[in-house]
């Protein structure tokens, strides 16, 4: 924060004069609001206090917001309302949200300070301005200090939980961006080395065949049939590439079809038990599909199991998937390993992965992520 000395620009004296006046004004308003709030609380025994309290708290918020904006102007930072949002709730629910919001109590604390100290600071610094030299030097210091206290009392409630959440979001976002960039590079390389190269060869062969047509029909025929094979190979490259981006069966049928197809393709015999009415958002479908694909690949490669299951349910806005096998167990989430990759893939959707895999088996991989279903896309 800038000190009052460094912040004293050409227009600073006027800014602080305005601030003094505003502090005095807000203080006087607070003096009126305190009995209003107190009266509303007292009247809550008869119902009229409820709307009254709701209304007076709105006025208290207006005073606090004015104080916050004053701090924002003085210290040059953006001000956002720190309150919990109230949308389309009934009066009782809305009041409950207000009364459980920590910001409301910060406001009430500030109301008391503003009504006492605030009025005193505002009026005294205004009086100092009448004795010009004293006002220009002392008032800004007092106003600055008081507004700083105000900004502290009325600060946004950045709890540890929020800080932690921000940390998580930053990490998963960075990982999602990295993964996406790596994926694009892979697609570019695959196209460049695969389909593109084959089409170039195809064009070349057809050109040669055109030249040979008259002199060496047999040679031309050979080149043309080679071109046909080249076109076929290019198509098969493209197919493999598309399967890696968005498997067609997943696009057609959603998770129901996608996971069934995975189970069919798995060398380990998988029982499938899916109950999912409607479709998950496409990015979630894709993340879950590839997570299950990776889990099945792990099971086939390492577990030595002969059978397993895929289970999926959706309830309370969460999608739960569990994949198990009867193999030897001992699977762990090591950094850079397949299971760790699944964890990272799902973390981007606030999902979690748990692995239960005692030595001797069985292995159960459970995944869970929040997910809103839409009606079946027909």
């Amino acid at each position: 924060m800038p000190t009052p000395q460094s912040a004293l620009g050409r227009h600073r004296p006027l800014v602080y004069l305005g601030a003094s006046a505003q502090l005095a004004g807000l203080g006087l308003l607070s003096i009126v609001l305190i009995p209003l709030v107190a009266m509303s609380v007292a009247l809550m025994v008869i119902w009229v206090g409820i709307p009254l309290l709701f209304g007076s708290l709105a006025l208290v918020r207006a005073v606090s917001m004015a104080q916050r904006r004053l701090g924002g102007r003085l210290f040059g930072h953006a001000v956002e309302p720190p309150y919990r949002e109230v949308h389309n709730h009934g009066l009782m629910e809305a009041l409950q949200i207000r009364l459980t919001d920590p910001a409301t109590y910060r406001d009430l604390l500030w109301l008391l300070i503003s009504a006492t100290l605030g009025v005193a600071v505002g009026i005294s610094t205004l009086v100092f301005y009448l004795i010009v030299p004293l006002g220009l030097v002392v008032s800004p210091v007092i106003v600055w200090t008081f507004v700083a206290i105000g900004s502290f009392v009325l600060r946004r409630d950045d709890t540890d939980e929020m800080a932690q959440r921000i940390g998580e979001l930053s990490t998963t976002r960075a990982e999602a961006v990295d993964a996406q960039a790596a994926e694009l590079r892979r697609i570019e390389r695959d196209l460049h080395d695969g389909a593109q190269a084959r089409l170039v060869a195809l064009g070349l062969n057809l050109g040669l065949a055109e030249q040979l047509m008259d002199d060496d029909p047999a040679g031309a025929r050979e080149l043309i049939s080679e071109s046909r094979r080249s076109a076929s190979a290019a198509l098969s490259d493209l197919r493999a590439l598309v399967r890696g981006i968005l498997p067609p069966v997943l696009a057609d049928r959603g998770l129901n079809g996608g996971l069934q197809a995975l189970a069919l393709a798995s060398p380990v015999k998988m029982d499938v038990d899916l109950i999912l009415v409607g479709r998950a958002p496409a990015p979630v479908e894709s993340a879950v599909y590839f997570a299950v694909a990776e889990t099945l690949a792990n099971a086939a490669k390492h577990s030595g199991g002969t059978s397993g299951w895929i289970w999926l349910r959706h309830s309370d806005g969460r999608l739960s998937i569990s994949v198990g096998d009867n193999g030897v167990g001992g699977a762990t989430m090591v950094s850079g390993g397949g299971l760790h990759g699944i964890g990272r893939r799902l973390a981007a959707f606030d999902g979690t992965v748990n692995v239960a895999s005692p030595i001797g088996g069985p292995t159960i991989v459970s995944m869970e992520l929040p997910c809103v279903l839409s009606s079946e896309r027909i």
Partner: protein
């Protein structure tokens, strides 16, 4: 032979019509979306239908669903399904109704005209035409299982071609061996996999696919 075509890409639809007409098929109807396809199949009852999996209006598996529904109402209606991709799951759904007259091929296969026309005729005749890629999917997950591991490479090759729906004569031509040699391989395969022998080509094909699809 009367054919109905369901394909939404005009270029491919016209190409198919020209190709089939050149081989003396009669294209009675060519439609470009799922609902009209089902109507056309039920109305014309063609000798064979050639159907793209992905059709309007949903651009998902509309064509496949229309084909399965048409076969539910007209059991045994021969249908050759074409797609940019082959899915084991879809192959299973097509074969689920039992009976023959089912084909499921990648669109790329059209470029081998003789083979393609042969597949159309085979399906029209109540036979089977499975794409080598479907068979590869079936085989790849079975590799580890014991009975298949007991087959010789030659036998595995015969098994694959048989699962595609080819006759002994076609397999012999393909592998440059005599029909008699193919017959010997076939007997050996059926013995090793403990499948009931059958003189009927199509029943034999379906038994092999069913075995691989377990």
């Amino acid at each position: 032979m009367r054919v109905v075509i369901g394909e939404d890409l005009a270029l491919l639809r016209d190409g198919l019509i020209r190709l089939l007409q050149a081989h003396h098929f009669e294209v009675v109807d060519a439609v470009d979306n799922g609902p009209s396809l089902l109507r056309a199949l039920l109305q014309h009852r063609p000798d064979v239908a050639i159907v793209d999996v992905r059709l309007p209006p949903t651009f998902t598996d509309e064509g496949l669903r229309a084909a399965i529904e048409a076969r539910r109402q007209l059991p045994g209606l021969p249908v050759l399904v074409l797609s940019q991709y082959v899915e084991h799951l879809y192959a299973r759904e097509l074969l689920a109704g039992g009976g023959g007259g089912i084909g499921y091929l990648l669109k790329d296969r059209i470029s081998d005209l003789d083979q393609f026309v042969d597949a159309v005729r085979r399906v029209a005749g109540g036979g089977t035409a499975m794409d080598p890629e479907v068979i590869a999917q079936l085989l790849s997950r079975q590799r580890a299982s014991a009975p298949l591991a007991g087959l010789t490479p030659r036998e595995t090759e015969v098994l694959g071609l048989m699962a595609e729906g080819r006759s002994n004569a076609a397999i012999a031509g393909r592998m440059f061996i005599t029909e008699k040699a193919v017959g010997k391989h076939t007997n050996s395969i059926f013995a090793k996999l403990a499948l009931p022998m059958s003189e009927d080509d199509n029943r034999r094909v379906l038994a092999v696919i069913k075995y691989l699809d377990q």
